[in-house]
Symmetry: D2
Subunit: 329 residues, 4 copies
């Protein structure tokens, strides 16, 4: 039984608390938040202690921490938790700077603590099914991957400004998914982007519509497209072409109902956003973390996966800025 401390009691911290409650083999013993109210509320709901972040990390009642705080706090929390010998589950991105992630890797490897990066989409039952079937050889050697990812609507401009830009904030999930599906590291990144959804996003120095091309050493290709808007819900699709066929995962719709009238056959919109769409994925990633801790094995995605995705996001950003493909090593 793993005792878990939750750092950050906002939306994602609450999701993870619920997942721990539904998992077997772990329990939340302590929660912490920079603000009093959310910590107190969450603690009341699940029946556990409230401490401040430092005390939580040092607490003898805590074997592992789930880090769901703002990105700029991850670095210090990871170092402190590693020093204290606590296993770490950390929300993506590990950090906005690849170099600082490299520091975190040193701290984690020095201390020998377990570390899992929260790329939740790998645990979506549909995407996990695609990956498992690729690994099982169902479509032969992977040749070309297409990833489409669209948010239902853009975040506030204030968020955009501190987000690190679309490639680091939004596409990072797709860049990790590309690695997950290609089964080989991208060596070249080419990115284009535009501000078509909202001119204010362009004025803030970011793009809201973007496309990336990745290639690997053996010549595999991945095309990613992103938009900050999709009127029909949260658009999350992958498609993988191999020597023997194709595997794709379609959107999950709100329900299975179809109507038919003069205007044709109509099905429901896609599930609205990530909390609905990835509900099962959030549960599964925590279950994986808990299972690995209880088994003493390494959970994936690792902190190195966190680093690789950040390196690709940096390269995409640079490619967009320079108009040229960027090599990644």
């Amino acid at each position: 039984m793993v005792n878990i401390g939750i750092l950050g009691c906002g939306r994602i911290g609450q999701v993870h608390a619920r997942s721990v409650a539904q998992s077997e083999g772990a329990v939340v013993t302590v929660v912490a938040d920079a603000f009093e109210a959310p910590a107190a509320e969450l603690a009341a709901r699940i029946g556990c202690q409230v401490l401040d972040a430092d005390a939580l990390i040092q607490s003898a009642d805590v074997d592992a921490v789930i880090i769901g705080t703002p990105t700029d706090t991850h670095y210090d929390l990871i170092h402190a938790a590693a020093k204290a010998g606590k296993a770490i589950f950390c929300e993506k991105p590990v950090d906005m700077s690849a170099d600082r992630i490299r520091d975190c890797i040193k701290a984690v490897e020095t201390s020998g603590v377990a570390f899992m990066t929260a790329f939740n989409r790998r645990f979506d039952p549909n995407f996990a099914n695609v990956r498992a079937r690729i690994t099982a050889g169902e479509i032969g050697n992977v040749e070309l991957v297409t990833i489409q990812s669209r948010d239902p609507s853009p975040p506030p401009i204030s968020y955009i400004k501190s987000s690190g830009g679309l490639f680091r904030d939004m596409m990072i999930h797709d860049l990790d998914m590309a690695r997950f599906l290609l089964g080989e590291e991208p060596v070249s990144v080419y990115a284009v982007g535009s501000s078509l959804v909202d001119p204010a996003i362009g004025e803030a120095g970011d793009v809201d519509t973007a496309a990336v091309t990745l290639t690997t050493a053996s010549g595999k290709i991945c095309q990613i497209s992103n938009s900050r808007r999709a009127t029909y819900g949260y658009d999350q699709r992958i498609e993988v072409h191999g020597a023997n066929g194709m595997l794709r995962a379609e959107n999950m719709l709100e329900n299975t109902v179809e109507s038919a009238t003069e205007s044709g056959f109509r099905r429901a919109p896609a599930q609205h956003f990530f909390l609905e769409r990835y509900e099962a994925a959030y549960r599964a990633e925590i279950a994986e973390f808990v299972t690995a801790l209880n088994a003493g094995s390494q959970a994936n995605p690792s902190i190195h996966d966190g680093l690789r995705a950040q390196v690709l996001a940096d390269a995409a950003t640079k490619s967009y800025e320079t108009g040229k493909p960027v090599s990644v090593r």
Copy 2:
């Protein structure tokens, strides 16, 4: 090369003329119609003679006739053509009276001429594919068949009045399809019906919404439903359950385009009506007739299939009228 005479130059006669033109192994040499204009027009388009029906049947330029005239003329034309030794392709229903169809069978069998009943749906590529896969054993022993058939909108009341009623006019196609898919003769028929689409249809003594249950000696079941209206196009679906699985044929839509907006995912309506939906089927049934004639083999569906469907339609009508299941032998 088969020389074909077309009796009846209305819509269906024109469809068959086009099919003959596209087939290899046959040519239309003569056309006839009760009215001058349609015969002249069709003859001009395809470059052939116009004769009256009797002369056409006697013509040395005619090896086979396609009967596309009103149902009440079929009986005499079949007898005349059989006597003249001409092969016969006859639109459904062969006749409104099962006993008169039995007379036609005698005439046809006495003369030994080839006879094919035009149940076009058997030649729809989708339905034919389902049947071929049943026959090949893909789903094992057939257990339950569901047939849904809806016209886009009701015919004029004048047509309804002389149609013989929904079960004989419209459901006869589905009753033939049931036999085609069950692979065993129905022994019991239960029918219900209502006038829900247009009260004038009820006042004319007919129904516009109906459901039939067929059972066979070995216990196979078929459910058919019909409506004289479907706002989303011509609804033509079959579904067959067997011991090892299920086969179904969905509607053919106007195109493959799907839109996605706030209101969800929308595809086109079903193809509007029989001329579009069964275009390939019309071509294939004539090709089958021509091929069989050139090969000297019997084309199916036979005149006996025409009789069996009529017997089932009569039984459905009687079941609807009496409120009781009707045995057919």
Copy 3:
């Protein structure tokens, strides 16, 4: 906050206990079972008392009971709970005998306790969506309903023998769904059935493949088909035709992945059986029960709905046995 006692700690009792835990406004305070182990296990998991059924019903810690015991015990438990003034949530069927259900209605109405019959499928998000849109007038007046329901595989013969037969054990859900969707009481029932899946089922006096036709006073029609086997998962579909269009709910598949190879495009099987397929429905029906209790309003489906479905199942059984349609009043 409603205190709930659970009678019966088998599979369905455990499902309901989980649903209560996830609902707001209720808590399980006591559980009871004829056997010691399941009650003790469930009590340990959720942290509550174990009592015997009588003591549970009399307990001051219990406001409402969830009856998930074998059908032949429902009658006495309902009477005892009604006498004790406890609200009742009762698994279907309320009883195998319509007359005994009528007795239960008297007991419930005399005591004035709330009563909800557990027709879970009404709470499936897909079916509930169809019903809501019918009620909102989206397809106009309902004309014809098609319900297809197939279990993945037959239950043991021992179960079949005491089940009351397919129409009362399995189709009762579809008969309730028919009432839910038609919006009008059926007045006539015609049933056919066969033993095609397993001859042992026929030898046990039951059928494994069946079809029913219902008609209402205004002429609406419903066709139901059932099979005890579906190789591709739990087949649960409804389709409703109205004056202005059609609404249908398709199966829920195991995932959204589609593969494409030489043999075509392949999607996953349907979710395997009722615990997966109706997971959301089980949660929603308990939420409805709790909400109604807290609001002091009547929850649906009522005990009268339980009676009507049983009356239709009896009529279907009689129709199957006599080969004739049966009137229900």
Copy 4:
């Protein structure tokens, strides 16, 4: 009535001859081919003259020519036909060299003859429907286009060697489709490619798997992917995202049949290759040419469309060779 001469009696010439026969307003009067047999056969089938190419172009019986000969003969035939005042329908590509196409434009514009470039996919009913709905404003301003195009299997290496390479031979259709859907000229082209399907293709200096990114001046983006292999048939899909929603055209499958078994739900492969998939498109493009000629209006796509697609294909080839995005003006 337009009198048409067909130059080239191979597969595509025969397709066009059939389309002319099915169109109203035109008739094939003369055919020509470098080889005697195909010309004689086609002439016999449709009942027309055989001449050599020069005589055909000069013939008073010819108002318009359809050029379906090898690409390297187009240049001379276009010049001769323009000089002779004949309207021209020319297979794609107009020529392998953009500069030579510019010469052809001069010849055509000097003589004032009508000219249509045979980008058949614009006439596919599905793609045409998408374009019409974009033009009608259904999804607002176009932001991102995805085009997927895969042949069922690679052509012979001998063909590859003289094809001009995948970007000019295969992707040129998708580059034209991109222009058709974007509604704005691409200004930048980035291409990647690999030889993954067959190493012999790589040895011949070509790629068999490729991806291109196009951007327009206003920031619209198009992603294209191509493969010389698709085990599941001819993969031809487009998807267009706009401010208000999405439009996509899925593959046309061989039939509408779906089976369900333990392994899930299976539909037929995509239609095998271009002759089936674009049958309607081939008919519609000839109808458009004939209609425009009879109306005295300009048919689209024009010779300028032919040039623009070639310029983009050249740019894609150069981008692939240099590893850098290429500007097009």
